[in-house]
């Protein structure tokens, strides 16, 4: 299996393809570690998996024009919305899985840049429920 350099990933928010305005994607999935240590002869801690917590971090380039980033995301603040990501904007397959999730748009930065910098918005949205991974 070849290593992959992300150049043409797919990102949709509320069904809208914003791929060409996203510079970074991180899909996070962590599982709580619940300790079950009890008296035993092993002298070690034991654990089982607890709740899974998923989130997605995205870095958007800001654009206020019609149909662009601000107009697409601003109305979603405080709501849950569908988000999908895929390593390559091509057919879904075992080597190019599609990850689908429902995210709470818990944060947004309509204006964020210092003088001379590109206006952008880096967000981390918690996922409500599970992430679905499709391979076909």
């Amino acid at each position: 299996m070849a290593r992959l350099v992300l150049t043409n990933a797919l990102v949709t928010v509320n069904g809208v393809d914003l791929s060409d305005m996203v510079a970074s994607i991180t899909l996070n999935s962590t599982v709580d570690s619940v300790e079950t240590t009890a008296f035993s002869t092993t002298g070690t801690r034991t654990r089982v998996a607890g709740l899974t917590d998923n989130s997605i971090s995205l870095e958007f380039h800001q654009d206020y024009a019609t149909n662009e980033v601000e107009q697409t995301i601003y109305p979603l603040i405080g709501t849950t919305t569908a988000v999908t990501v895929k390593p390559v904007n091509a057919a879904t397959s075992t080597t190019n899985p599609l990850y689908s999730m429902t995210c709470l748009v818990a944060e947004w930065a309509p204006l964020n840049a210092a003088v001379g910098e590109l206006a952008s918005a880096s967000v981390t949205w918690p996922v409500s429920g599970a992430i679905t991974k499709a391979t076909s």
Partner: protein
């Protein structure tokens, strides 16, 4: 209910000018209201011609 994609961006896999159904939008988990408000889609116009007016034409 059907909608026309008016956005320059792909919406639920549909391109500008394509028609998309409410079911396709809901299956994608997207919000129709916000897509309409954002200028991405608009409801297609449907003309309802009543039987009475059809008869009057004849």
């Amino acid at each position: 209910m059907a909608y026309k994609v008016i956005s320059g961006r792909s919406v639920c896999g549909k391109k500008q000018g394509d028609t998309i159904t409410l079911k396709e939008i809901e299956d994608a988990g997207a919000s129709v209201e916000i897509l309409v408000a954002g200028g991405h889609i608009q409801a297609t116009q449907t003309t309802i011609k009543s039987a009475l007016s059809e008869g009057a034409d004849k």
